[in-house]
Each structure stands twice: as C-alpha cells, then as structure tokens.
C-alpha cells in the first residue's frame, strides 16, 4: 500500500485527487459526499461578487458514440450568497479536518476587494486559496477571470494583493486562452504565488444546430462563447503543465487540471510535473465514485512499480520534455505489420498511400493470398498506419539503426554556421 498523501505548497491531502472548482463543489452537501467517496480535496465553486446565471448552460461534444469527449459551459461563478458558502465550508472542514478545502476566489481587480474576500474566507478555516484568473465568459466582460488572467501585470498585481493579507497558501489558476502560459505563470510567481494550477476552460462554441441554425447551447435563440473542458482538452493541459514544469523561473508546485478522467491520466500529469490533480468533467459525467477506481488504480500502479510514495512520481518525465531542435534527427523507427494478427482491412495501406509516404505494398503469397508489407527503407516512421489500425498489436513501430551518430537540428545548424562564418552561431 503506497503512501498517496500529497503536500502542495503546504496544503496537505490524503490523496492527490481533488475536485476542481465547478458544479461538483457547489455546496457543503456535495463536498461532504465527495470526501466520503474518497476525494482528497475540493476547490470550492468560485466565490465572489454576486452574479446571475442563464438557463441552458452546458453542452457536450460526442464523437462517434463516445459521449462527452468534450464539455462546454457558459456557467459563471457561484450564485449562492457568500455567507451560506462560508458557513458550509466551516461545517465541512470541521467534519473532514484532514481533507483539503481550497476556496476559489474571483473579484474585481481592486486591492480592497481582494483583501476583504481573503480575510472572510480564511476566517472560516480554509486550507488554501485559489485565485480564478481563468473563467473565459461572463466574468471576463467585467474585467475578471480570463480578462485579468491574460494580462501578466494584472496577474502579478492581484496575486501580490492577495499575498499581502493571506495566511494560507495561494494557488493561482491560469487561463489557457493565451499564446504562452509560461508568461502568466511567471507573473504569478513574481506576485508571490505559492503554487499555480492549470488549466481553466478553453474558449469554445460547442456546435451549431444545422436544423434550427441556433448555437448549442442557446439561451432563447442566442448563444455566447463558452469554456471547453473534458477529455478533448487533456493534451493541451498536459503541454501547458509540462511547459511550466520545465521552466526554471516557475519554481512553485503545480496543480494539474484538464481532461483528467482516470488514474492513468493523473499519473501522466504528475510525471509531467503536477504535485496533484483536479477533476471536473469526469466527475460530472460519472459521479463522485469514480475516485474509488482512481485511488485503487494509482495504488496498484505504485505497488507494481515498487514506489513507496506518490510524490516520487512528480516531475519524472519533465527532463524528457525538450525542444524540437534538441531531438535526434538520426533516430529511426519503421512500421512492421504482423500478418498473423492483421485482419486485412487495408486501412493502413490507404492511410499510407493517400496521406503519407506510399510504402505499404499489397503483395500476394504463393497461394495467391493477399498480404501487406512495409517497404522499411521508405517508411518515415510517422506512426499513421499504427494509429488508424483497428487491431491492437497488428502494427509495431520498431527502432532500426540508422548507422549514423545522434545529431540534433541545433547541432547541425551550429555546424553549418561554423562552416559559413567560422563561429558557432548557437553559442556566440
């Protein structure tokens, strides 16, 4: 039985699975049920100035029968009175002293507003604060959420204001609706953030109804952009976590969020530098009890790997996440088709013939039976055939020795530079 406890910038929780600030953490009733189910922490639905919500708020993108491949919402922060939320936070913390309760906050970018809300939520005993600089709709129009989260100076300044009065650790939740998230992450660190979390939702329009021509969702015939999350955003979130984790100027713990649906996803985020993870869409799709499988799966994984504590996973893949210019141009893989398992559907042949390098030949054996074979010398190792192949194990991508020493693009360009002008343009 591995030790699943985590300590994120001083916030302790019995396991790395937290519910993200969203409908699952809207009330004490829900958070207490979540803790009973096994969640290690909860970031309360964002508290802030009073708002009003619209009806018809969510939409999902299904893909080929897979429900909720992506999830879209136009919901704002909590619409419950602050006093009610604070009372329920207090009661929940009393019942579950060892679980992490983090208050998510969003107010106008004014020093006194931040000071006021920080003091009020810390008075009821939260373990930490998460500043929501990420909500992409509704609040942004009022200068809050993503509107302030896209401006590094505002991220830094507001973090600083919070840190002026905060007694508990401050997590800054970043918006992905920006070209380079490391810029705002750095601004958060400069403002004194104890940790960062990412990602909030990505600007989106889920669909257009081709019969009515309405947006999906629509509010009485009108739509507005929403925020996208769920499995579809996981690669985007993972990249952003990795970019922050490998940036030496962003030297604070990361709480990973975005499309995490199972323990394997959580392990990926932790390997890429997250100290813990937060989940929203998967809980909304399948309920709180998914955490049971997450805890069990993570435990078994750690035991099988002989790892005593989940913290040992954190960042183990970060040094493997590099820049394109540092990849070995002479590393070579090729596709190999296992004719024993292949069902002759020809999908790989079509993919390679139409959209890759025309190197899967259709041949016939002595009995006249058709089979496929890769011309390895012309295969560029793009992986497309194995991606489209419907049969697990029918195509292996195998390494072949190129016979050449490792050489990166950067090394090559440096050598060309030396040749052209006698100096190394990379180091000079």
């Amino acid at each position: 039985m591995a030790d699943l406890r985590i300590n994120l910038a001083g916030i302790q929780s019995p396991n790395p699975f937290w519910l993200a600030s969203a409908p699952p953490t809207n009330s004490g009733y829900q958070v207490q049920r979540a803790f009973e189910a096994g969640w290690g922490g909860a970031v309360w639905k964002t508290l802030g100035d009073p708002i009003l919500n619209v009806s018809s708020r969510f939409a999902a993108v299904s893909f080929n029968g897979q429900k909720v491949a992506g999830f879209n919402n136009i919901e704002l922060i909590t619409d419950r009175p602050l006093e009610v939320n604070l009372k329920e936070i207090y009661e929940t913390k009393k019942k579950f002293p060892n679980h992490a309760i983090i208050a998510s906050l969003m107010v106008e970018p004014k020093q006194e507003k931040w000071h006021e809300i920080v003091k009020r939520v810390e008075d009821v005993g939260v373990d930490g604060l998460e500043l929501n600089f990420g909500c992409p709709h509704g609040m942004a129009e009022r200068g809050m959420g993503a509107a302030s989260g896209q401006v590094p100076e505002l991220v830094q300044k507001q973090t600083y204001w919070v840190k002026e009065v905060a007694k508990t650790p401050v997590i800054v939740k970043l918006t992905p609706n920006i070209t380079d998230i490391t810029v705002t992450a750095e601004a958060a660190v400069e403002g004194g953030a104890d940790a960062i979390s990412m990602i909030n939702t990505i600007n989106s329009l889920a669909a257009v109804d081709i019969d009515t021509w309405d947006t999906v969702p629509h509010v009485g015939g009108k739509g507005a952009h929403g925020g996208y999350c769920g499995p579809a955003v996981k690669p985007i979130a993972l990249h952003m976590v990795g970019e922050c984790a490998r940036n030496p100027r962003i030297n604070v713990p990361i709480s990973g969020i975005g499309g995490i649906s199972n323990w394997q996803n959580a392990v990926e985020f932790m390997l890429m530098g997250a100290t813990g993870v937060q989940v929203c869409t998967a809980a909304m799709h399948h309920g709180f009890r998914i955490v049971e499988d997450m805890i069990e799966g993570l435990n078994n994984y750690l035991d099988e790997k002989g790892i005593a504590s989940v913290s040992e996973l954190v960042g183990k893949s970060v040094q493997k996440y590099s820049d394109w210019g540092d990849l070995d141009l002479n590393y070579k893989i090729v596709a190999r088709i296992n004719n024993d398992t292949c069902i002759n559907c020809n999908k790989c042949h079509i993919a390679c013939e139409d959209t890759s390098h025309q190197c899967i030949d259709m041949l016939k054996d002595e009995s006249g039976k058709g089979y496929l074979k890769v011309r390895e010398e012309d295969c560029v190792g793009c992986n497309l055939c194995s991606i489209v192949c419907p049969v697990d194990g029918a195509i292996d991508m195998v390494e072949v020795k190129s016979g050449l020493p490792p050489m990166t693009w950067n090394e090559r360009q440096a050598a060309l530079g030396i040749l052209a002008c006698g100096v190394d343009p990379v180091t000079k």
Partner: protein
C-alpha cells in the same frame, strides 16, 4: 523510383568525394535543395546538389565529423 534510391545515390556521391580526399568547404541551402561545395588538397572544387532529406542529414553528419576530427 523510390526516394530511398535517390538517397543511396546521393550518399554514394558524397562518400566517393570524401574517399577522393575532398572535404566540405561550404554548404548553401535554398529552395532548390542543398549545394555541398567540396575541395581537395590540390584546390580542385566540386559541388554536389543534394535533394533528399536523408541526404541532407547524411552530409550534416559528415560535416560534424569533419569539424570534430579535423578530417573525414
């Protein structure tokens, strides 16, 4: 003809020049491919046009080797 055959030809031509005592003096890369300028001790010059990506990797390896060892 497959691109691999093109590469083999380019590799042979590069190897042949090196065997003949030539070394790489300049490389110009433009939209028409790469032009590898070679020279031997007698000052004789040759230019090879390299079109395939594997060919471009190959002369880059030769160049790195030349710069590391001072010879090929």
């Amino acid at each position: 003809m497959s691109e691999y055959q093109d590469f083999l030809q380019e590799r042979d031509r590069l190897d042949f020049m090196i065997q003949q005592g030539y070394s790489i003096k300049n490389i110009i890369e433009n939209l028409s491919g790469a032009f590898v300028e070679l020279e031997n001790k007698e000052g004789e010059k040759e230019t090879l046009q390299i079109l395939t990506p594997d060919g471009r990797k190959y002369f880059s390896v030769l160049l790195l080797k030349q710069q590391k060892t001072g010879a090929l």
